[in-house]
């Protein structure tokens, strides 16, 4: 019985450590790698990041304001294939697709009138299919010009 207790305890601790470690890595990736992609733009301070696997999609909804200059940065960790993203308006018209821009990690834009936009993010897949698909952190960050 003591042995079962020991095994259960170790398994629980290992699992908790694994989950904590993945989150910590994602946070570090967003702060150190992706935030730097914003360059001269001021990061708004919001945190949008998650562990995604090959082929998985995510969506983000945000209001952008007229006459502000924005930079959007979407980054995937090194072990992931390219991250594809599209920016759409309320009528689902595609305003930008990084697939047509060599899978660029950033997009600079400015609006003449404020709009709520939708971002569709997709982790592409490696050509060689694997039984164990790659997974890693994907971070989405916004920066704006302050002056």
């Amino acid at each position: 019985m003591k042995r079962i207790v020991q095994i259960s305890l170790i398994a629980t601790l290992l699992f908790a450590f694994n989950a904590f470690n993945a989150n910590a890595q994602c946070k570090g990736f967003a702060k150190k790698i992706c935030r730097a992609e914003l360059g001269p733009y001021t990061h708004d301070g919001n945190y949008h990041a998650a562990i995604l696997v090959e082929g998985e999609e995510a969506e983000l909804y945000k209001t952008f304001y007229s006459d502000q200059e924005y930079r959007l940065a979407i980054c995937g960790s090194e072990n992931l294939p390219a991250i594809e993203f599209k920016v759409m308006d309320a009528n689902k018209n595609i305003l930008y697709s990084n697939a047509e821009d060599d899978f660029s990690r950033t997009w600079d834009f400015k609006l003449e009138s404020s709009q709520q936009l939708k971002l569709l993010i997709k982790v592409t897949t490696f050509e060689q299919l694997s039984d164990d698909p790659a997974n890693g952190c994907v971070a989405i960050m916004f920066g704006f010009k302050t002056d």
Partner: protein, 305 residues
């Protein structure tokens, strides 16, 4: 007796492990979802479709820094009297109060930073730190951060970088530690504070041409996002009352019409910036504005008092 205790311990540990497994599958479970999909496919195509559609969705509200920046860019004057006094920190003892006021103080801090109010920047960073510490957010705002702030108090660029980094640390800590509801409450606090400051600064004698009025109307576009974000965390006991307040605010925002033309993207070849071209028509009356300002003041007052 010893055996019974041992048995109970095993049950507790197995339950914790099973719960942790469940949490993990919800959090980063695309890999697991894919494996599930294979099994489910043979059972029910509708369920399979639901699983495929269960993608990660982010609802992004304007951060406190963005809210403050929008007020500044509309040409508003700085008014210290509109900020939540730092002496009020001792009033906030519950997690809900501390989360709301972490957002509020971060908005005040951002506002002071953008207007180069050096002493206020330090005071509001300390107030935000008190709230973050109270919520158990480890090291988001360390003594080192405060010292760095003091050393660069005349460098706005560095200050804004510190403000943005500390807010990032706070909300990433909350997200990573299974407290997304608290993270969403922080955002609501900051958003309401920005809206409160903006509504208080509107010049009623110049209502039709005051740029702030346009910024306030724009917030209608974020109300739905905020409600979706809150409803995503509705199981948290602090959320339903906030949802109720925000729904009251939405009723007033719904009186405002916003009509925009289709967006036409055009790339500025020189700067490589895409201009999203469109025009907008809005129709907020002074009466609707005053009703909105009153409601915002009422909600904000319930957060700071």
């Amino acid at each position: 007796m010893k055996n019974k205790i041992l048995q109970k311990t095993v049950y507790v540990l197995i339950s914790v492990f099973a719960f942790a497994l469940l949490l993990n599958s919800c959090k980063s479970g695309a890999k697991e979802a894919e494996e599930d999909t294979v099994e489910i496919a043979t059972i029910d195509e509708d369920i399979l479709q639901d699983v495929n559609e269960a993608k990660k969705i982010f609802y992004s509200l304007p951060s406190p820094l963005e809210s403050a920046m929008l007020i500044k860019s509309a040409g508003a004057e700085f008014n210290e009297n509109l900020l939540n006094p730092t002496e009020n920190t001792t009033r906030y003892t519950t997690n809900k109060q501390m989360a709301l006021n972490l957002g509020i103080y971060t908005c005040n801090l951002s506002f002071a930073s953008l207007y180069d109010q050096t002493q206020l920047v330090i005071d509001y960073m300390s107030a935000a730190k008190e709230m973050a510490d109270g919520l158990g957010i480890l090291d988001a705002i360390s003594e080192e951060t405060i010292n760095r702030l003091e050393e660069n108090v005349n460098n706005r660029e560095v200050i804004l970088d510190i403000v943005s980094e500390t807010f990032l640390s706070s909300n990433s800590y909350l997200q990573d530690n299974q407290q997304p509801a608290i993270a969403s409450i922080v955002l609501v606090g900051g958003w309401i504070e920005g809206l409160y400051i903006a509504t208080q600064l509107v010049d009623m004698d110049d209502f039709d041409s005051d740029k702030l009025v346009g910024r306030i109307i724009d917030q209608k576009l974020s109300v739905g996002i905020m409600l979706d974000l809150l409803k995503d965390n509705n199981e948290h006991p602090s959320i339903p009352s906030i949802v109720e307040q925000m729904e009251g605010l939405k009723v007033i925002f719904d009186k405002i019409n916003i009509k925009t033309t289709d967006i036409k993207p055009e790339i500025d070849e020189e700067t490589n910036v895409t201009i999203l071209k469109s025009t907008v028509e809005t129709d907020m009356t002074p009466e609707t504005f005053l009703e909105l300002a009153g409601k915002v003041e009422e909600i904000r007052s319930s957060y700071v008092n």
